[in-house]
Each structure stands twice: as C-alpha cells, then as structure tokens.
C-alpha cells in the first residue's frame, strides 16, 4: 500500500514537474501564437501566394494559369505607363510628405508653448485624421472642382485665374498632396509633441541662457533630440505615400478617369496602376501581383534611402 502510494506519488510528482516545465517553456509561445497564426494566414501567406501568382499568366476570368517566369515583370518594366505611375507616385509623395512633416514639426513646437485650452488644440490636431479617407477625398475633389470649386472661386476673387486642377500634371499632384497632408499633418504633429515632451527641460534652459531664440531651440535642440521619432514618421509617411489609392481614384471622378488617373494618366499612382490591371476589364491577377511585388521593392528602397538621408542629417549636426 505505502510503496504503491509512494510510487504513484513520485510518478505524479515527475508528471507535475514535466507539466510545469512544459508550461514554462510552451505557454509564452502559446500566448503570442494568435498574432502569428493570424499574421501567417493574412500576412505571410498572401505575400507568398502573390509572389507565386506573379509568375503566372493568371486571370480571374479563366481557370488556366500558365507559368511565365519573370514574364510579367519584364512586361511591367517595359511599360511606359508603369514608369509614368512610379513618377507620379514619387512626385505626390514628395509634395505631400515634405511640407507635411515640416508643418507638423512647427505645429508641435507651438503646442509645447503655454496655451489656453491646451487639450482642445491638441485634440483638434487629430480630428482630420478621424475622417475617413473617402470622405476627405470626396470633399477635396469638390473643393478643387474646375467650375464650381471653392479653391478656384477664391483664386478668381483674388484676381488669379481659374485652374483646371484635374487636367494638369502638377496641379493634380498638388491637389492630391493637399488631401494627404490635411489628413496626416495633425497626426504627425501629435507624435512629435509626445517626443518633445520627453526632452529634458534643462537642455532648453541651457540653450536659453546661451541666447538661443525659440526657432534656434527648435532646430538645434528639439530636432536632434527627437530624431528617432522623425525617422519613424518619415518612414511611415513614405510607406503610406507610396500606396496612395483612394485620393487619386476619387479625384478622377467616376468611370475610366478614376482608374487611369485622368485621361492622360497624369495622376495615376502605382496602386491605381495595379487596380487598373487587377480589377478592371482583364482581371489580370498575375500582372497585378507583379506590380504589387515591384511596389514592395520600391517601398523598401525608398524607405531605406530616406532612412540613410535622415541619418546623414544627424551626423552633420
């Protein structure tokens, strides 16, 4: 009896120990598993599958998928409309991001000053970001309307001529950049503000004693101190800016112009180019997947360049 009891007690002891160690080793993985399972299903798998599809002539309308190797990529790189879309995307990216981040920096700087109703101003910054992209694009498309748009009305009242915003390359890029900047400036300003509040007061006091003006403090103290945050916002804005879709699509109006970004493709971005091939008449998923992967490469490249560029500023200062 006792031996048996002892024996069973010992075995349940090792079992318990085993379970305990298993629990110790496996549980953390189990806890983070949901994310990775979801990521694998909705992130990794589509990514890999897109790569697979991009090596095929793959139309949604047919069940035959012919392997073509890098044929889609070759066709893509020799299509002048692709390079046009890439150029448009980069142009809109620069027009939207550079003024946006500078404005955000200045706004954040102003928000650090003593203001009445501080929370009101800070929350107000975030309001444009809460509006849906589609709503923003629809409203701004009307503001930039040729005949009855508010912007042209103001321009005319000021004595400047009307601008056909949709028709021109530069004017359409500016209009789209304004939509992006309006939505994201406040968001970036709040991120900068958070970073600025972590900068020690003493540094400013020292700068103040040395006779630095507010502006000098911003560019010589604040900017170097919050550089990691700037790097973050630059990279995030780059990724967003290279994937702009809803703004140009709605700006083009209904029908074909919304797909090709104007009659001359003057504001067709890379995502619109992808949409034109993947979700328009041919439903060429193979080709569209090749566009998607090329876009991925472009985004990595541009983000990397931006990162190196921002780093250079640091070493210079």
């Amino acid at each position: 009896m006792t031996i048996a009891a002892k024996g069973s007690g010992a075995s349940s002891g090792t079992k318990g120990l085993l379970r305990y160690r298993l629990d110790l080793k496996a549980s953390p993985y189990l806890y983070i598993a949901p994310f990775f399972v979801l990521f694998a299903a909705f992130g990794l798998f589509p990514l890999a599958f897109t790569a697979w599809v991009s090596t095929h002539e793959w139309s949604l309308l047919s069940d035959e998928h012919v392997f073509v190797g890098f044929g889609n990529y070759e066709a893509l790189l020799t299509d002048p409309y692709f390079w046009n879309a890439l150029g448009n995307t980069l142009s809109i990216l620069v027009l939207a991001t550079v003024p946006q981040l500078l404005a955000a920096l200045l706004l954040a700087h102003v928000l650090t000053l003593r203001l009445r109703a501080q929370t009101f101003w800070r929350m107000g910054m975030l309001l444009p970001n809460v509006a849906s992209v589609v709503a923003v694009a629809v409203i701004f498309s009307q503001l930039f309307g040729r005949d009855f748009g508010l912007v042209n009305w103001v321009l005319e009242a000021l004595g400047a001529g009307r601008i056909d915003w949709q028709a021109g390359t530069a004017s359409s890029h500016v209009a789209i950049a304004v939509m992006v900047a309006w939505k994201w400036t406040g968001y970036n300003a709040l991120i900068y503000l958070a970073a600025m509040q972590a900068v020690p007061r003493e540094v400013y006091e020292a700068a103040h004693l040395d006779g630095a003006s507010r502006m000098q403090q911003l560019f010589h103290v604040t900017v170097p101190m919050i550089r990691p945050t700037i790097v973050f916002t630059v990279i995030v804005s780059t990724i967003y800016g290279l994937q702009i879709f809803a703004e140009p699509q709605l700006f083009g109006g209904g029908g074909q112009n919304g797909v090709t970004g104007g009659a001359s493709r003057q504001f067709q971005t890379l995502t619109l180019y992808l949409y034109e091939h993947g979700f328009n008449r041919g439903f060429e998923f193979g080709y569209a997947s090749a566009v998607a992967w090329t876009m991925f490469a472009v985004i990595v490249l541009v983000a990397l360049l931006n990162y190196l560029f921002i780093r250079r500023i640091r070493s210079a200062s």
Partner: protein
C-alpha cells in the same frame, strides 16, 4: 464545487439556444424569401417591389445600388469567384456581350419560361441577351435608350436661335455637320459651350452607324471602320472650335452644369431625361427635347440577369417576368422616363400620349417612341463599354490640350491593342 461548472455550462447552453433562435427568426425559416437586386443607379423599381410583395407576401426585396463603373466590375468579380452576386443583377448594353459569352454563369431563362415570351421585346433587345449559339438567354430587357437631343430654351433664345422644338430639330435635321455648324455659330456669338462632353457626341455618332467598334466576329474595327474615323474627325473639329464644356459624365461638376446652364445641348437617350430632371430641379421649363441629328440610334438601356449562384431561380424569374412585362415597364416610364423595350406599348396611348412638364411639356412618349422604333440595331462586342471609354479618354486629352489629335488617336490605337 461541482455546481459551478454545471451552472456555467447551463448558462452557455441557454445563450447558444437563444442565439440559435434569434438566428432562425432572421432567416428563411419563416417562409419568406428575400431576393436581392443589384443595380447601378435608381431604376425606379421601389414602388414595384411593394406591389409585388403585396401580390406575393412571401417575397421580400433588398436593393443594392452601386456606381455605374463599379457595378459591372463587381459583377464580373462575383461571377468569377462564384459568390457575392445579387439574385437579380442589372447589366448595361455596353457590357452585355461580355456576359453572353459565358452563359454558364447565369440561369438560362429559356428553361425558366422565357421561351414563350420572345415576341414581347424589340427583336434586337432580345437578341442582345442571347448566347452566340442561341441556346441560352441570360437576361430580359428593361429599357432602351432611343436618342433625342435636349437643349436649353433660354440659351437658345439668348443666342438668337429658334426655341420651338420642331424648328430646333430642323436646324440640324440634315446631319451632324449641321449640328456642329450651328454650334460653331453659337459658341462664336455667345462664348458659351455647345455641348457638355465630346465623348458623348462621339458615342452618339458611333451608335448610329451600321457597325460600331466591333464586327460580328468580335474583331475590333476601330481603325478600319470609316464611320468611326468620320465621327472622330467631326468631334475633333467641334473640340477645336471650343464647343465642348469638357465635363466628365457623372461628376458633381457635370451635375451642376445641368442647373447652371453652362452648356446648351446634350444628347438625350430616354434615361437621361430623368437624370436631368432629378439633378437640375431649378432648371424646370428651361430644358426641351428635339430630335437628334444623323437619324436614329440607341444609347444605353439595360437587361436584368440571374447569376447562376442565385439560390432562388424560380422566384427570381417569376419576379423578373412580371417586372419586365409591358404594364410594369409603362409604370417605370411614367415614374422615371426610362423607355420601355416592349413594342406593344408603342401603340398604347398611355405611353405615346405622355408629356413631361419639366421639359416644357415635351411629348416624351411620342419623341422616344419614334426614336426607339427607328433604331437599326448595332452589334455590341464584348468590351464595348471599355473600348468607348478608351476612345473617350483620347478625346479628353485633346480637350484639355495635353495632346494633338494625331497623338491622341495613335495612343487610343496602341491602348486598344492590349484589349
């Protein structure tokens, strides 16, 4: 100790049962069938759903309206992936051939009872929904778009042009060249625009030709068809005379133009009249309707199809047959202006006698009956709508000055090579 899990289980069980009951009450178990209807824009079916539900209390409707261009893209996606399409879907004439090429994706209406109804529609309307082998019919016709020309009386008067519709029709009774010549005079005298978009004028001319952008073997004949070349040249002439208001159809600016009177004329298929009326309520009495130059032609009009993935083909077909019957088409015409595709109505005074107060009491019944009966059907190829849109963009590039007519034409041809 043991009671707690039991209680928990019983609570869970109760919840599951409740959820199950709730789910049942929303489904088909109460004997009601919900038919979904996918449309682009308002077809004026609202009162007809109610009427049909009164006759058939077990049928309910759910209408989904999307934008014109999105509608057909979505429908193609839903057909290809085998799910997501409504029980009943509208297809515009520019897209119908794309779908008749794949009759397996739709319920064959000839098997559901439509085989006995052939004589009810205009012959060409019926033919458009038939597959190439004639074995399956994918849709029944709703409206047709016999063309007329809408014009602004106030602008015509200010320009010293006649305002009564017979005299206006006589201005361009000869040909499109006359229409452009009057327009040139109008633009030179007033500085205003003669029409809203060159793509629309181009399309109207093409629709009147014997052959359009496709031949009967589905080859693109844009380059070789002399009718297209002539239409292009005349449209370019009009653009260069600054007659086009350069508006893109369905944009807010276009809508505003109807009210503000920024252009003097617009090609008016029957369905356009209701669009003008709803979008320019302030311009009542200012618009009137004359005949279109160049003879008769059809622009637009739709079919209703039953995607094969729909689970209630009999019920959907029964409704479809009822909805497209002459009596209901007449009601739609009275309510919206979408012109019936069933010729038996063309002799019915209830139709021919109709006039519209908005258009200065224009006898729309008479005008569009004449337009519809004179139509010589034109073969519509698979990507008809996309081809016309691509050519329209070429004209758009000339309009906004970014390309010369020659460059625009060669880009159109190279763009069409990928079709």
């Amino acid at each position: 100790m043991t009671t707690r899990p039991t209680r928990a289980i019983s609570v869970v069980a109760a919840l599951v049962t409740a959820a199950g009951l709730a789910a049942c009450s929303g489904g088909d178990d109460d004997g009601k069938i919900t038919l979904s209807v996918g449309l682009f824009g308002d077809f004026g079916f609202g009162p007809l759903y109610e009427e049909y539900s009164k006759l058939h209390p077990d049928i309910e409707f759910e209408e989904r309206i999307s934008e014109f261009a999105d509608h057909h893209t979505n429908l193609t996606t839903h057909l290809a992936t085998g799910s997501g399409a409504a029980d009943i879907e509208a297809v515009e004439v520019g897209y119908i051939s794309q779908y008749t090429a794949e009759p397996d994706r739709f319920h064959n209406l000839l098997d559901l009872g439509a085989d006995e109804l052939e004589g009810q529609w205009l012959d060409w309307k019926w033919q458009q929904a038939l597959s190439a082998d004639g074995e399956s019919l994918i849709g029944l016709g709703t409206d047709v778009g016999g063309m007329a020309m809408c014009y602004r009386r106030d602008l015509f008067e200010a320009a010293g042009l006649p305002v009564e519709r017979d005299e206006v029709s006589a201005l361009w009774a000869g040909s499109w060249e006359d229409y452009v010549a009057v327009g040139e005079q109008y633009t030179a005298d007033t500085g205003g625009y003669w029409f809203e978009s060159s793509g629309n004028m181009f399309r109207a001319m093409v629709e009147q030709a014997d052959e359009g952008v496709y031949d009967r073997e589905n080859n693109l004949i844009v380059e070789s068809n002399p009718a297209i070349g002539a239409a292009w040249d005349l449209t370019v002439e009009a653009i260069e005379a600054d007659m086009s208001n350069r508006l893109t159809a369905w944009t807010p600016e276009w809508n505003a133009g109807f009210n503000e009177g920024t252009f003097a004329t617009i090609i008016c298929p029957a369905w356009m009249t209701s669009y003008i009326e709803t979008n320019a309520p302030d311009a009542a009495g200012l618009w009137d309707i004359a005949t279109v130059p160049g003879g008769a032609g059809n622009m637009g009009g739709s079919h209703l199809v039953l995607p094969a993935q729909g689970e209630h083909p009999e019920e959907a077909y029964a409704f479809l047959e009822w909805l497209t019957a002459p009596e209901q088409q007449l009601k739609v015409f009275e309510a919206t202006g979408n012109f019936p595709s069933t010729p038996e109505l063309y002799e019915d005074p209830a139709l021919t006698g109709l006039s519209k107060a908005y258009f200065n009491d224009a006898p729309v019944g008479e005008i569009f009956t004449a337009a519809a009966t004179a139509v010589r059907p034109q073969y519509q190829g698979p990507l008809q709508g996309d081809v016309l849109a691509t050519i329209g963009q070429g004209l758009g590039r000339i309009e906004d000055g970014s390309q010369s007519p020659e460059d625009a034409w060669s880009q159109v041809l190279s763009d069409l090579e990928s079709f």
